[in-house]
Symmetry: none
Amino acid sequence: MQSRTRSTRAGRPRSATADAAILAATRAALVELGWSRLTLGDVATRAGVAKTTLYRRWAGKNELVVDAVAELFDELRLPDHGSLAADIEGVVLQFAAILDRPEARSGLMAVVAESTRDEALRERIRTSIVDRQKRLVLEGRARARSRGELPPEPAPEEAARTADLIFDMVAGAVVHRTLISAEPADEQWVRGFTRILLTGLAAHSPSGGPSLLEELGGI
Amino acid sequence: MQSRTRSTRAGRPRSATADAAILAATRAALVELGWSRLTLGDVATRAGVAKTTLYRRWAGKNELVVDAVAELFDELRLPDHGSLAADIEGVVLQFAAILDRPEARSGLMAVVAESTRDEALRERIRTSIVDRQKRLVLEGRARARSRGELPPEPAPEEAARTADLIFDMVAGAVVHRTLISAEPADEQWVRGFTRILLTGLAAHSPSGGPSLLEELGGI
Amino acid sequence: MQSRTRSTRAGRPRSATADAAILAATRAALVELGWSRLTLGDVATRAGVAKTTLYRRWAGKNELVVDAVAELFDELRLPDHGSLAADIEGVVLQFAAILDRPEARSGLMAVVAESTRDEALRERIRTSIVDRQKRLVLEGRARARSRGELPPEPAPEEAARTADLIFDMVAGAVVHRTLISAEPADEQWVRGFTRILLTGLAAHSPSGGPSLLEELGGI
Amino acid sequence: MQSRTRSTRAGRPRSATADAAILAATRAALVELGWSRLTLGDVATRAGVAKTTLYRRWAGKNELVVDAVAELFDELRLPDHGSLAADIEGVVLQFAAILDRPEARSGLMAVVAESTRDEALRERIRTSIVDRQKRLVLEGRARARSRGELPPEPAPEEAARTADLIFDMVAGAVVHRTLISAEPADEQWVRGFTRILLTGLAAHSPSGGPSLLEELGGI
DNA sequence: TCATAAGCGAGACGGTACGTCAGGTCTTCCA
DNA sequence: TGGAAGACCTGACGTACCGTCTCGCTTATGA
């Protein structure tokens, strides 16, 4: 079969374990050295791999770190605390906890900085990190609707636009708080943030506002 | 006298124009090359200055770029469009316009990335950029109060905390939209963002809410 | 029988054509690239052979090039021009012509250079090239004796020593002229060289000298 | 003055001691490692110098080794043993002794090999080594003439051609004996070589022959 | 006839050195 | 004494080959 011929190509196959070892070594190096002092030679040594093997699989430091950091955000889970407010607070605290880890802190901002001059890298970040975590917004919104906390689904286009906006507001606020303002995103901050966001969201819809506002008023 | 001895020390005085030339050259280099390919040797050449002169005034690339970028944000002005909503939309669009300029895009994120492992740099960013632009929040809030769009000043501590939160939400959302999501912060996005933020803010205060909500409902 | 078991072992026999293809590819690569830029991977590709096949038959670049170059010198023939002087001139010109070919020029000197630190390689050069071409000296001397141009054979030990010396003088002079002085070994040079050598040789023997000297005097 | 402006240029001047240290380190590395395993990084380390300093002064390994080896041959001196034969034997033995030193053995042949594909390197070898040592031939011939061992100076053009030829014969024979045949150039070999060469040379000239032949006959 | 065994192509692998580049320091001369 | 010029040491870069290895496949012999 052609597919067999394609998949089982001639030559020694690539080591399956090397990828995982390299990504783990990259995160370890980020913890110890940070982005700017991280070198691919050092990563290769830590992973017990030759530099050439590393370059055979990633184009450079940027691409490697995107992949290493992206895996971190896959740990995010949307908890079920019974209310949308509590769920948001929970996921925001998780996000803040990840951004508190040194391998995420310096890695994420650095690749974003590099991506401003590299379209391919920008796309890779979008694919591996941004779009991948938007699932949390979609999942949270669906659950809130099933609880009756949010009005029914608007037109698809509008829904997508709002999901993007919410994601920018949530992720942006946490990133700015922890990395740019460089202050802790502690419970108090998270509660204040969530209250403003949710109030805004509830009122934004024509129908579902009042009851939610009343509920929030009691916090 | 001591003061004269200090300010007018023996020997040739430092060139006054050199600093401005160096910062301008730094921004020019950021535009052409971006952060990672910017070299201090190149900046020195562009500024018509020796490398030693540059190192005598800045500790390194990070500090130099912070100063070069900080000047960009001083251009931000709080416009008076008659309502808080319009004022916020105006300043957010200005902010987005600055983040669209290549010298800001790659420079800002890069120094933030470096600052995650450098306390002094973190402090420098806070002083030169973050705290410096919080003036916009304070000024905007004061003007809104004088218009009656927001309730009177709460306790000072609470006021400061809220100002920080608003700044994180505004700046964070714009940064995330433009640099991480890498989508344009166009008028539609800004209007949606402002509506959610303002609604949340108005409801957050016990008294000032209803009238604002009614006003926004008409948009 | 053991010998049959040894020579006709089980398994696929080595490809007979591969050796010739590899040596030819080696010479082609020497012509195009010279010694230092010649790579075994490239030779393998040119020969349409895998790198492993090449390493199964030669220990490395040195051994391969010795064999590739040695074949070139097997082209040397001792011409019969009627006199020892003319015969020597003929073979010297042939030798110079071979050393003018790029595959010989860079290959020969390079393996000699490597052989200074590698006894096995030194032995391989002696066997494959040096001793192999001494036949020309022996053959020429025998023919000259049969013509009466040289005195009868001295003691075997002395004969061997003299043959070595003559070979060093002839080959050495041509090598030095063409490769180190980097001047052409043209007819004028060859005639001058041959005259000095032959005069020296003739006088060196107790008896045969005078007649030869007289003959040479007329040139 | 212009010359002063040129020679005393701005900036830190090149370290005077570095060159000597680098050449000495090169020879030491040749002794220990030979040509092919010698690396410029290692030479730089041995010399206590940065790799960039080395590359600032030499274009590559070839040029560096030519200079390092050339210094070795400057040690050659033409001894005065009272007769041309003895003088030649003396200088040939010195030459053989130098070619017995590992730094000369592998270095010399290697750069000659490289020079077959590099005209600039060929010229450098000619200038730094070949032409430089031809002085020995000229000096020896002049001394022999003053002793009456050789006929008076022929036409200048003819004299130059003969000097080149003699140099090729002497240097070539020694190089071939020691490096290609890989046999020792001991006293017996040197005596045999010198006898053939001198006889040839003496007979080559119309007048000076006979007496010299008689002298040599007694050896 | 079919298992056994070696050769073969392809290509990934751990290494080593390459030659270049930028960082930051230093040494010189000039203003 | 400040500044321009430029040489210096350090260390990482990304690339090229090295010689070895692991594959799946081919081609012989011999039980």
